[in-house]
C-alpha cells in the first residue's frame, strides 16, 4: 500500500509518536498491520464526524433564534422574583375541606386520563394493525402491493392528523361543543393520544423480529393470527410499557386541559392561581408528583410481570 512520505516510518521510528515511545516494540508486526491494512480502519468514522459537524452547524442558529440564554435566570433580579414567587407556595395548604376537594379532583383527573387513554387505545389498536408493514402478506414476496401500500399510508396520514392537533386545541373545540367538564378532556386526550399510540404501536411492531410472523403468513395464516401468535408475544411488554407511559402523560396533560375548563386538578389549580393561593397550588403540585410517581411504579411493575 502506498503511503505519503510523512507516514512512512523510518525503521527506528515509532509510527505513532515519531520517536521512541516503546509502542512499536510491543508488537511491531501487528501495529504495522493496523496502520497499513485498509480493513482495520473503521470506514464509517468520516461519515460520523461529518454528521456531528453538520448537526452542530444546524443547531447553533436555532439556539440564537430561540434566544436560548439560560444564564440570565441567575442574575440577582431574576433570582429575587423567583424567590418571592416560590415563597408564596409555602407552606402547602392542608386544611381538611381543601384536601377533600383535592382528593375529589385528583380522582377526576385520573378518571379523565384513564378514560382518555382507553378511547385512544380503541382508536390506536386497529390503526396500528392496518399501518404496520410487518403484517403485509403482499410484501412476503418482495414488493408490497399498491392497494395495501395506499391503505397503510392512509392509516398513517390519519394518525398524523390526529396527533398533530394538540390536545389543548381539541379540548377548546370540545368545550364549545359539549360544554365545560371532563367529557371534553376525555375526547381531547382520546383523539391526540390515539394518533400517538397508533404511530408508536406500529413502529414497535415493525421493530420486532419479523421471522415468526412471516413464517405464519407464508404457511397460510391470517394477518390477525400472525399478529396474535407471531408479533404480540414479542411486542407485548413494550406495548404495555408505552401505553402506561402515555397514561402518565395523559395525567399530566389532563391538568393542562383543566386550565381551559376540562375539569380535574387543572381546573382547581387554575382557580387557585387566579386567587393567588400559592399554598393551594403547592399542595396540588405535590399530589401531582405523587400521581406521576405512582404511574411510574405501576409501569415498572407491569413490565416486570411481562418479562
Amino acid at each position: 500500500m502506498w503511503l505519503p512520505t510523512w507516514r512512512r516510518a523510518k525503521p527506528w521510528q515509532c509510527r505513532w509518536c515519531g520517536a521512541s515511545c516503546g509502542v512499536m516494540e510491543t508488537d511491531p508486526g501487528l501495529l504495522m498491520a493496523a496502520v497499513r491494512s485498509p480493513y482495520q480502519r473503521d470506514p464509517a468514522w468520516r461519515g460520523r464526524l461529518a454528521w456531528l459537524l453538520v448537526s452542530a452547524v444546524l443547531l447553533w442558529p436555532l439556539l440564537v433564534l430561540t434566544e436560548f440564554r439560560p444564564w440570565r435566570m441567575l442574575d440577582s433580579r431574576s433570582l429575587q422574583v423567583t424567590a418571592h414567587f416560590l415563597a408564596g407556595f409555602l407552606p402547602p395548604a392542608l386544611d381538611a375541606d381543601f384536601l377533600r376537594v383535592v382528593a375529589r379532583e385528583t380522582w377526576r383527573t385520573v378518571a379523565i386520563a384513564t378514560a382518555g387513554v382507553t378511547l385512544a387505545l380503541l382508536l390506536a389498536a386497529p390503526l396500528a394493525l392496518v399501518a404496520t408493514a410487518a403484517l403485509s402478506i403482499s410484501s412476503l414476496s418482495g414488493r408490497m402491493g399498491v392497494v395495501p401500500f395506499v391503505t397503510r399510508q392512509a392509516a398513517r396520514a390519519l394518525m398524523v392528523a390526529l396527533r398533530t392537533v394538540p390536545e389543548l386545541v381539541w379540548a377548546l373545540v370540545f368545550v364549545r361543543v359539549v360544554g365545560l367538564g371532563p367529557t371534553s378532556g376525555v375526547l381531547a386526550i382520546g383523539l391526540t393520544y390515539g394518533g400517538m399510540l397508533g404511530k408508536v404501536f406500529a413502529e414497535i411492531l415493525e421493530g420486532s423480529d419479523e421471522h415468526p410472523t412471516r413464517t405464519l403468513l407464508a404457511n397460510g395464516g391470517g394477518r390477525l393470527q400472525a399478529f396474535l401468535y407471531g408479533l404480540l408475544p414479542q411486542a407485548a411488554p413494550e406495548l404495555t410499557s408505552y401505553t402506561i407511559y402515555r397514561w402518565e402523560c395523559a395525567i399530566r396533560s389532563s391538568v393542562v386541559l383543566g386550565f381551559v375548563g376540562a375539569g380535574g386538578l387543572g381546573q382547581q389549580m387554575d382557580s387557585s392561581l387566579k386567587m393567588l393561593a400559592g399554598n393551594e397550588v403547592a399542595t396540588m403540585l405535590l399530589v401531582f408528583i405523587g400521581l406521576v410517581w405512582l404511574a411510574d411504579s405501576v409501569s415498572a411493575w407491569l413490565r416486570g410481570l411481562l418479562r
Binding site: P212, N219, G220, G222, L224, Y229, G230, P233
Partner: protein
C-alpha cells in the same frame, strides 16, 4: 384413510434477488423438477447452493424471476392474493432458524401450526386457554419434548427449538412439508430419530416431503430420491443407488479460486446468510 399429498412442479425457474448486479450468478438458474403427491425428496448441496431459495420459491414465499411453480397444478402467482393465501395453507414451510417468538410458551408455539385451519375466534380463545393441549403434547412427545409443554421458548436450546418447529409441522393442516435443514442443530442420534419421525408421519398421512440437508449420508440412507443443487443449478436428481461418489464429490468440491473479483466478494456471492434475510425482508 390416506389422503394424497400435494404435488409440486418447478418449470425453468430462475431467481435473481432484486438489487443484485446482473453479471453475478442468479440464486437459481433454470431449475426444473416435479415431486409427486406423497413423494419424499432430499435436497442436498453446499452452503449457498440455493437450497433455501428453492424451498421458498416452492412455498410461494418468494416469486421466481422467471419460470413457473405449480402447486397441485395451480400457479400461485397467477391467482388473486386471497386464493394464493388459501393455497399456502396446503404447505408447511419450516425455515432453518426456528420461527418461534422467545416469550411464547411451547404449547402455543406448537399449536400455532394449526392456525391456518382455525377461525380467528378460536385462535383468540386458544391464547386464553390452549385449545388442544393433548394434540400439542402428542406432537412434542416423539421429539422427547413432552415435558417442556409449558416452558417458554427462550428456555429451550437451539436443538430443542428446532424440534418444536418440527412438532409444529405435525399439527399443520398442510399436504406438503418443506423443511429447511431441520437437523442442523441436532446431534447425530437425535437427527436420525427426528428424521425418522418426520418421514413416518408424512408417509402415514400421505404428505409430500421435501427436506434440505447437509448430512448427505443420512439423505442417501433415508430418502428414495435426492436432488443435488450447486450454484443455483440442479446437478443430479435420482435415487441414491444411481448417485456415484464422483457426483457427490463434485457437488461439494470447493470452487477453484477465481482471480477476479476479490475473495471477499466471492464469499458474499455464495453465502447463504445473504440470501436468507433478503427473503424474509
Amino acid at each position: 384413510m390416506k389422503a394424497t399429498g400435494s404435488s409440486l412442479q418447478l418449470e425453468q425457474v430462475s431467481v435473481r434477488y432484486p438489487g443484485e448486479a446482473s453479471q453475478t450468478r442468479p440464486a437459481l438458474a433454470d431449475v426444473e423438477f416435479k415431486v409427486d403427491g406423497g413423494e419424499h425428496v432430499a435436497l442436498v448441496g453446499p452452503s449457498g447452493a440455493g437450497k433455501t431459495t428453492l424451498l421458498h420459491v416452492a412455498a410461494a414465499a418468494l416469486r421466481a424471476t422467471r419460470g413457473r411453480v405449480l402447486l397441485d397444478g395451480q400457479e400461485p402467482w397467477a391467482l388473486g392474493s386471497r386464493s394464493r393465501q388459501q393455497l399456502r395453507r396446503r404447505l408447511f414451510l419450516a425455515p432453518q432458524v426456528p420461527p418461534l417468538p422467545p416469550r411464547q410458551r411451547v404449547v402455543t408455539a406448537v399449536l400455532a401450526g394449526r392456525l391456518p385451519a382455525m377461525s380467528l375466534a378460536s385462535s383468540l380463545r386458544s391464547l386464553l386457554y390452549p385449545l388442544d393441549i393433548g394434540a400439542a403434547h402428542e406432537a412434542l412427545e416423539p421429539f422427547d419434548l413432552g415435558g417442556r409443554l409449558f416452558d417458554r421458548v427462550d428456555r429451550l436450546s437451539g436443538g430443542e427449538r428446532q424440534r418444536v418447529s418440527l412438532a409444529r409441522a405435525l399439527l399443520a393442516p398442510a399436504r406438503l412439508w418443506l423443511l429447511d435443514e431441520p437437523l442442523s442443530a441436532l446431534d447425530p442420534v437425535r437427527a436420525t430419530r427426528a428424521l425418522q419421525i418426520v418421514r413416518q408421519r408424512a408417509s402415514q398421512r400421505g404428505i409430500t416431503l421435501v427436506v434440505s440437508m447437509h448430512q448427505v449420508d443420512m439423505a442417501m440412507t433415508h430418502f428414495p430420491r435426492l436432488i443435488g443443487v450447486r450454484a443455483g443449478r440442479i446437478r443430479f436428481d435420482s435415487p441414491p443407488s444411481q448417485i456415484s461418489p464422483e457426483q457427490l464429490r463434485s457437488l461439494y468440491e470447493r470452487e477453484a479460486p477465481t482471480p477476479e473479483p476479490s475473495d471477499v466478494a466471492a464469499d458474499v456471492e455464495t453465502g447463504e446468510t445473504v440470501a436468507v434475510p433478503m427473503v424474509w425482508r
